[in-house]
Assembly symmetry: C2
Homo-oligomer: 335 residues x 2
């Protein structure tokens, strides 16, 4: 007998616990709306390292050790390290795994990696394969923008629907037992391709995937959107958020207007000139591990649904004229 | 109570079954030593597509449908699709997932992805989260070489220890029940960095990771190398194979000289000018899903240990003068 509920959702028999988490960010995020929630704010983007790539790794390791320290754990206590990032060959995660020396599974789901890592961590623990798993995701504006679009020094003009890749890393310790909110349900997304080709328009590429996974989650679990105190998507930005609200109604008759926000909209002040909002693996990671879990601990939210969305293209597929497929992974976190 | 045995190994309580698998290859692999074992041999590297990237996707989809067809299954019967490849942002896997429409987890472990996908598939099934999982991995000489090293048209001379990226894709259907060999044990590797910097010398970068995971597997399980009828590494090539034999003795006192081969050495004829042998995610995939499983079905091997190795660098980290970290994931398959 499987633990499946409906066609794409599993219900954890013994919901694993998020016993600790940490979020570290760059200076711009540190001036944003959620600045008081971050565990560490770097004063510049280079983080004292020799390259932006090394800076991103430094942030991941910092987030990992901060999360471990909060529960007096060391890397050796972890059964697995699950991590992913946006760089080619996910080198931020791979190189971070060298220092941590924890049995490692590398993941790639673009910006959906936050929820992908929590999904797999929860299933491996509930399945009896681990007591403790460290999950980490990251992005860095200066490493991502030059890889996916233009070198930041080039100063190319960005369209109004463009988003700003978040400089930040988040890490969580998922455990079989302990104190904290629990991962209760996981809805795993299918990859969808709605014909979007513009690598600046991530919100439009990812919104259909977000709506599809949300609708599937409600159908599979029988829960209404109002079951949750808050539903967040990872990094759709203002345009993608509004599109998702529309698609949830038109595609499934679900009203998200009451309790749905997007991490990309939440993270920056409107006057920070990020256009449509934040994006990147680091966006949902620092908002979830910084703001959301801390507000859950205070009792502000009892039940949240985190839907991390990923645009699954590469510069090569873009240059070859292909569409941008997308995916959304949902994780229900409940007190 | 976890299913852990030692520090890095889990033993599956109800070992999942490899009920079907398929291997498709390019023309060069189709002239190699294992040609009679492949399910489909393409007559050229472009596979009737508009780009080599599309050709690689075509191979993955072909392998997936061939594996499904052998057991009269369709994508809809699968609970999850786990896949990874070598291209930036693992676009081969992501784009293949669009067509398959199966809930998807994208993986990146470089050439270790074959064993990573089987490890996670087996744990998700044994944990009660799925009845059927489709796992696929691929590589393509013409997409990989130009991304990692030089454009193939450039015709750069390769050192004698260089390997040849295999053009091939493999897919397997892992099931809770059914007929076939079973995945019994999984040893998950740690990322190691031994200071190798030469992107042509993958064998030397990955051999220490292979030896480390092998030694750990023997220590965790209490099994001697001779417990297995055959131990294979994924794509170390001739030099990496010999180095692994030495490191297993010096590092753990284990003698691999009797029953250890490397997929990269097995796949090509010595006169095919591939230097040290084959490499790439596709290498271990087509040798395991083509040759090894078919010989297991015939009774040639009863117990095998597949240790897929991955070099976790990127062209960016190489250009920035960094080392090449590596990982090895081991999966025991038994009748």
């Amino acid at each position: 007998m499987t633990k499946k509920v409906g066609s794409q959702t599993v219900k954890l028999a013994n919901p694993p616990v998020l016993i600790s988490a940490a979020a570290v960010v760059g200076p711009m995020e540190g001036q944003g709306l959620l600045r008081e929630y971050f565990d560490y704010i770097y004063s510049d983007n280079i983080c004292g390292q020799a390259s932006f790539e090394k800076a991103e790794r430094h942030m991941v390791q910092n987030a990992c050790y901060l999360a471990l320290n909060k529960v007096q754990k060391i890397p050796k206590d972890m059964d697995y390290f699950l991590a992913g990032d946006l760089l080619n060959q996910t080198t931020t995660s791979n190189f971070s795994a060298v220092q941590l020396e924890i049995p490692f599974f590398g993941l790639y789901g673009a910006c959906s990696t936050l929820a992908e890592s929590l999904s797999l961590a929860a299933m491996l623990i509930d399945g009896g394969f681990a007591n403790y798993i460290l999950a980490a995701t990251s992005s860095h504006n200066c490493t991502s923008e030059r890889q996916y679009r233009y070198p930041t020094e080039y100063g190319g003009q960005r369209p109004p629907y463009a988003q700003w890749t978040v400089t930040g890393a988040g890490a969580a310790v998922v455990a079989k037992e302990g104190t904290g909110p629990r991962i209760t349900c996981i809805t795993t997304g299918k990859v969808v391709d709605m014909g979007i080709k513009d690598p600046f328009n991530m919100g439009a590429a990812m919104a259909p995937a977000a709506a599809k996974t949300l609708i599937q989650h409600f159908c599979d679990t029988g829960r209404a959107p109002t079951y949750y105190d808050l539903i967040v998507t990872g990094d759709l930005g203002r345009f993608g958020h509004d599109l998702t609200v529309q698609l949830a109604v038109s595609g499934g008759g679900f009203d998200l207007s009451q309790n749905y926000q997007d991490c990309g909209v939440m993270i920056y002040r409107p006057d920070q000139d990020t256009h449509s909002g934040g994006s990147g693996c680091g966006c949902s990671a620092v908002v979830t591990y910084g703001y959301l879990l801390k507000e859950m601990a205070k009792g502000t939210f009892g039940k949240i649904l985190v839907v991390a969305t990923g645009a699954l293209h590469s510069p090569t597929t873009f240059q070859q004229g292909e569409n941008i497929p997308a995916i959304a992974q949902a994780v229900a976190i409940e007190q």
